[in-house]
């Protein structure tokens, strides 16, 4: 840095270089570690040419008083005094010889000046950097850009941008009027006056963010809330103490509002303690209108206050001074004419007299009994002027300045010198009570816990380190939905387990620190000198709450989801989080109970359920009716799953009832059912029937697994870009009264399962846009192929659905046709089984192979064993665990037993035969060929139309047709229902043929 100094000097004009060297000398004199822009600015203010000083005066809208600049100088010198000094006294001789190096900020300013200088003169643009010499004006401009400088200027109620624009304005004016002479020093005194509009705007925003979008400022005034109540508390604290108990609220535009609120509370006697019976006296509006009368008015006020205090009821008086500007306000006309005069204008003299008078008044009533208090407001500028014009006021009036921040910025997020805002600093720099105020505000963030708490912290830290491996990780700040997802994503990508754990540990330690700091704050407020109520939210908690973007409605900070997410984080497997996220833990018992319930056997279940239903809550007749009706509807369609049907009916009825009761409390209307078991068709049909019965509509089927053989699927196009949750959300949004079937939930990925689980718990879905959708009255049916272990063993004699599904589907598809053909009886036999003698069924005959036989059954048994074995082998744990997770949350889990197809086949055959016999002569027998029966069964099974329906539609007409064509003697005839291989029409999506061909030959 030292070596660079001469280089820097080369880039400056002699004038600017002199200022720089003086600044360095000043920094060295003050024993500062670095030369900063503040030094340069202070030097520029002092310099005899006084460019900066003049520009400041010019920029100020309504005061050209030189005293204003004195305030500025004061502020700068205070700011300089606060800079850290170098402590190396030991090698003091060396230290004296070394100049303090240029600080980074100053270096940046110099570079900025260079850039501006180059931009200023286009003809020099291509020249090397060194050829450009920075002129004093450019130096000033870039110094004004420095944040520390503009902060100090703001404190003295100057706006650095306004000053800057004044300089630039005159620079431009010079270069246009006298473009050849840009090097000559510019006398601001001779420049045309800057357009006042601009500078007044700039000054108006002096206390605000300079770069702020003006439109935002309009909104700023409506800020309030918690911040204000905090301010109120602070002020009341001041009012109740013995010394420095007269608060002046400094800032804009909030103070008035705060004072108003305080006085309102005092007047309505809301505040206990010594302020309870205090009267408020306000200075009337005309008070300051005639400056010469002010002293007299104060005296008058004195007697008034005396009278009030003499009253027994009144324990004191609070005098509301309003905005203190009347104390320092110079009459506009006088001020403007006053120009460069050194004497304070008359109005200020009057103000001085008021200060003295008021001081007397306070001594009279305040000193011993403490019965007169003052309260007032001021802008930074006004207060500063009071300091300058009435130096004794603060002491005589026993004032305490209270900075009121305009907008609460995120405190502590980026602490800079522990300084919470302009106002603190400004007050501190001018207040005789220097330090206390801003130290309180500033240090509270940085200060660690007291020794006692530190010790506790150390202990906990030790514990934490000891258990870090065994314990599951605790709270991480809850993140936005998309961040959460991203986090999971990232973690899975990142394979560096160790680093991750370290990170988590780090976080924990930080949290521990914070916890103890906070605890300490509460336990030992004295240690933190928390008198002024500067306790703000710590950085961590703030960043959490601030995470929630109002536009991303999806996450509400209050939901248990977010509250709990931290606990759920497992160190080893972050992926699990999504599933574990959520509701406060379900008690184990419920879980177990549920399991027992489920495994405890299906047959007894429905009756028990119904029983429960009836005994627990006296059922109204209508409720029982609706249950019966529902059950009937369900069993009609899914006759082979009687037990499941009654369980479903019972649960749905019960939930509806309960929901109806709970509705008053505004709780859920959604019902969640889990259909488990291998009977896909049965589950599907149950849903169809339920939907038809309950809402009279079609269910929405959303397949979560890999199966694509769904006929109910909408066209794929509409799914593009939509996640499963989106589709669910859309379905619910479209019709809150609908049934949504989520197929193969056990195959769904972990995210979807997590989402579903959260939806169950919260009664709301969150789609991928973060929108929240209420579940309304929708009924959600989850299906899973999972089967309780004990049922697996029970399922002997059944056919593995895994296999059968596909087999059935392939059987039923392919546009097969049936025909009825007539043939001679090859076997003189009446099929006795047709009349219900199951066990008398004959062995199959090789030559015909036409009769229904039980070898199918045997084959199925063999197959079943195989399939069963393989299934339980294949059944991954996740299925069980996944379903188990969901099992906790659903309203009920209904098990669909594996289906034994043989009775169904028999049923179908029986039905067809019965129908045949009723239409055609009893004597004629019908023979249903195996393949045909198989196909019919699968068609009935998969298709939507029931057997009866199909027979009415397709078979009966053919039978009637057959009847007319039957020969007279038909004793020896057998009608065969067989596959019609010749006519293989392409299927139209129907699983059963529309008609049955009748072939009568001979």
């Amino acid at each position: 840095m030292r070596a660079g100094l001469s280089t820097i000097h080369q880039t400056l004009t002699p004038e600017a270089a002199t200022v720089l060297s003086h600044s360095i000398a000043e920094a060295s004199r003050r024993n500062h570690g670095q030369t900063t822009p503040l030094h340069v600015a202070a030097m520029l203010l002092q310099s005899p040419t006084g460019f900066l000083r003049q520009a400041c005066i010019k920029s100020h809208p309504n005061s050209s008083h030189p005293l204003q600049c004195r305030a500025l100088e004061l502020c700068f010198s205070v700011a300089l005094e606060r800079l850290p000094t170098v402590q190396n006294v030991s090698n003091g001789s060396l230290g004296l010889g070394l100049d303090p190096p240029i600080s980074n900020a100053l270096m940046a300013a110099l570079k900025r000046a260079q850039a501006h200088q180059r931009r200023g003169c286009p003809e020099q643009q291509q020249q090397p950097l060194l050829a450009v010499k920075v002129e004093l004006e450019q130096l000033i401009i870039s110094i004004l850009d420095d944040p520390s400088v503009s902060r100090v200027m703001r404190e003295a109620s100057f706006s650095s941008p306004a000053v800057k624009s004044t300089i630039e304005h005159s620079l431009n004016a010079t270069s246009t009027s006298n473009s050849t002479n840009t090097n000559g020093p510019i006398k601001f005194g001779f420049r045309p006056v800057v357009d006042t509009d601009h500078s007044s705007v700039a000054t108006h925003s002096a206390n605000r963010n300079l770069y702020l979008n003006p439109r935002l400022q309009q909104g700023a005034a409506s800020q309030s809330g918690q911040q204000r109540s905090e301010d109120v508390k602070r002020v009341i604290d001041i009012l109740t103490r013995n010394k420095k108990r007269n608060p002046i609220l400094v800032g804009e535009p909030e103070p008035e509002l705060v004072v108003k609120e305080i006085l309102k509370r005092i007047e309505s006697k809301e505040i206990d303690g010594i302020l309870r019976n205090v009267e408020v006296v306000r200075l009337d509006k005309e008070f300051a209108s005639d400056k010469t009368q002010m002293v007299a008015k104060i005296k008058e006020l004195g007697t008034q206050v005396g009278a009030k205090i003499g009253n027994l009821d009144c324990e004191g008086v609070i005098l509301d001074l309003g905005d203190l500007k009347w104390l320092v306000e110079s009459d506009q006309s006088v001020g403007l004419r006053g120009g460069a005069q050194q004497q304070p204008p008359p109005a200020l003299e009057a103000g001085g007299a008021v200060v003295v008078e008021m001081g007397k008044l306070l001594r009279r009533f305040g000193e011993e009994s403490g019965r007169l208090r003052l309260i007032g407001t001021a802008t930074c500028e006004t207060y500063l002027r009071c300091q300058v014009y009435h130096p004794s006021m603060e002491n005589d009036w026993d004032l305490q300045a209270v900075p009121i921040t305009v907008t609460a910025s995120l405190p502590g997020i980026l602490p800079r010198f522990g300084n919470n805002g302009i106002h603190n600093r400004s007050i501190e720099s001018i207040s005789p009570m220097k330090g206390l105020l801003s130290k309180n505000l500033g240090s509270s963030q940085k200060q660690g816990p007291c020794p006692q708490c530190s010790q506790n912290y150390e202990q906990e830290l030790e514990k934490l380190l000891a258990t870090k491996d065994s314990e599951s990780e605790s709270t991480q700040p809850a993140l936005l939905q998309w961040l959460q997802n991203a986090k999971v994503h990232v973690k899975t990508l990142d394979q560096t387990q160790n680093k991750k754990q370290e990170m988590i540990l780090d976080q924990k330690i930080r949290q521990l620190q914070k916890k103890w700091k906070d605890t300490c704050f509460n336990l030992h407020p004295n240690f933190h000198r928390l008198g002024l109520g500067s306790d703000r939210l710590g950085p961590a908690s703030l960043s959490i709450t601030s995470l929630y973007n109002t536009s991303l409605v999806g996450c509400q900070p209050k939901s248990p989801l977010n509250g709990n997410s931290g606990e759920a984080l497992q160190p080893g497997s972050p992926v699990r989080t999504d599933l574990v996220l959520g509701r406060p833990k379900t008690p184990e018992i419920i879980h177990k109970g549920r399991l027992r319930d489920l495994s405890g056997c299906v047959p007894s279940e429905p009756q028990k359920k119904l029983h429960d239903l009836q005994s627990d809550k006296p059922l109204k007749a209508s409720d029982a009716d609706s249950f019966k009706k529902l059950l009937k509807g369900l069993t009609e369609k899914v006759w082979w799953q009687q037990d499941a049907a009654s369980a479903v009916a019972a649960t749905v009825t019960r939930c509806k009832l309960e929901n109806g009761k709970r509705r008053g409390a505004g709780s859920k209307g959604d019902i969640w059912l889990l259909f488990s078991g291998p009977d896909r068709i049965g589950k599907k049909k149950m849903v169809l029937a339920l939907s038809d019965q309950v809402y009279g509509s079609h269910p929405v089927v959303i397949c979560l697994g890999s199966r694509q053989d769904d006929t109910d699927r909408e066209s794929d196009v509409s799914f593009r870009g939509k996640t499963v949750m989106d589709r669910i959300a859309e379905a619910v949004r479209r019709d809150p009264f609908s049934i949504v079937m989520l197929e193969d939930v056990d195959e769904a990925d972990i995210l979807v399962r997590g989402g579903i689980k959260r939806a169950m718990e919260n009664g709301r879905l969150i789609d991928s846009y973060g929108r929240e959708i209420s579940l309304g009255n929708a009924i959600f049916i989850l299906t899973a192929s999972w089967l309780p272990d004990n049922l697996k063993s029970l399922s002997n004699g059944s056919i593995s659905m895994e296999l059968d599904d596909k087999k059935l589907a392939s059987l039923a598809s392919g546009g097969w046709q049936l025909r009825l053909s007539l043939s001679e009886k090859t076997y003189k036999r009446r099929a006795s089984w047709l009349h219900g003698g199951e066990n008398r069924a004959t062995k199959p005959k090789k030559e015909t192979g036409s009769l229904l036989s039980f070898d199918l059954n045997e084959a199925a048994n063999v197959e079943d064993e195989k399939a069963d074995g393989s299934r339980s082998h294949n059944l991954p744990n996740r299925l069980v665990s996944g379903s188990g997770e969901l099992l906790d949350s659903v309203d009920d889990a209904v098990v669909f037993k594996p289906v034994d197809f043989n009775p169904i086949r028999r049923d179908i055959a029986n039905n067809i035969t019965k129908r045949f016999s009723s239409i055609i002569d009893e004597r004629v027998s019908i023979e249903i060929l195996d393949e045909a029966l198989e196909k019919i069964m699968s068609g009935v099974w998969i298709g939507r139309s029931g057997l009866e329906e199909w027979m009415e539609k397709a078979l009966v007409p053919s039978l009637q047709q057959l009847k007319t064509r039957l020969p007279a003697s038909c004793e020896s005839l057998v009608v065969r229902l067989e596959l019609d291989d010749e006519s293989c029409k392409p299927s139209h999506g129907d699983w059963l043929p529309n008609s049955v061909k009748v072939v009568v030959d001979g």
Binding site: N209, L210, Y211, R215, S409, L410
Partner: protein, 271 residues
């Protein structure tokens, strides 16, 4: 909550000594950084915000005059840094925000320790000796399309710009944020961006710049990154990534995030 925080949906995440500011480009909002943020929060304080005019911001705050030039956005950026009292930051600007960061860094170089420009272009229009990728006719058609039917323009523009197929998540995501913008604001912003010519300011940038660029990008030809490299007066470095499209941090995070992290973590001398 200050008005700036609220207006820009300002978020500060993570912890660390250094501050990283992530600025999104046209048609997106801060969520465009979702893949990057989790990697940063442990080492950096990450500042996220929405540019005025983004769908997530209050349209009432959008001052058509203020945002008729990129300077308006640059002032916003400075206002944010002031508000948070950031002393120095690593600025990651995507698309137009890279230029906004550059402008802001010229007036306040002290606030920026380096700028990472992703898919940045100083000028989109072709010019003599300059290939920006667009002719004036193209742009006129573009603006007309925006004005005529915003929704259909969005659905057409999103896949083009992202460089993925219609159903890719990134395209969906971008269409969403794009369509979130109020159409008149979107048109104004698009005009401001596409008609901007920031070539002359490049020579004033003093903060080190890292230029990251997709090998295939509809809005920014690869040569532009070289142009930036040649014309920035500061130290600069170019890395062309194998990713596709203008929003690679969204569409190919697996390629882009490591590159971004490298450039955020290391300075030019050590990259």
């Amino acid at each position: 909550m200050g008005v700036v925080e609220e207006a820009h949906n300002l978020k500060v995440l993570g912890s660390g000594d250094r501050v990283t500011v992530l600025a999104h480009g046209f048609g997106t909002d801060q969520s465009v950084w979702k893949h990057l943020v989790p990697h940063l929060v442990d080492d950096f304080r990450v500042v996220l915000f929405d540019n005025m005019g983004a769908g997530t911001t209050n349209p009432d705050y959008f001052d058509f005059n203020r945002y008729a030039t990129l300077e308006g956005y640059a002032f916003d950026l400075l206002a944010i840094l002031e508000e948070l009292r950031v002393e120095s930051c690593i600025f990651v600007g995507h698309s137009v925000s890279a230029m906004i960061g550059a402008i802001a860094s010229i007036s306040r170089p002290d606030l920026f320790s380096k700028i990472i420009m992703m898919s940045a272009s100083p000028r989109y229009l072709n010019d003599v000796d300059y290939y920006g990728g667009f002719e004036q006719d193209d742009l006129d058609q573009l603006f007309e399309a925006i004005g005529a039917n915003y929704k259909s323009w969005c659905s057409g523009f999103a896949p083009l710009l992202v460089g993925g197929d219609m159903e890719s998540v990134a395209v969906q995501e971008f269409s969403r944020t794009l369509f979130n913008m109020r159409p008149d604001i979107a048109l104004s912003v698009a005009q401001t961006i596409f008609q901007s010519d920031m070539r002359q300011i490049l020579s004033l940038v003093t903060v080190p710049c890292h230029i990251l660029q997709s090998v295939k990008d509809l809005a920014v030809p690869v040569v532009v990154s070289e142009y930036l490299h040649q014309n920035l007066s500061c130290e600069s470095i170019v890395e062309v990534m194998t990713s596709d499209g203008h929003l690679p941090q969204l569409s190919s995070p697996d390629i882009v995030i490591p590159v971004l992290l490298k450039h955020i973590r290391f300075d030019i001398s050590t990259v």
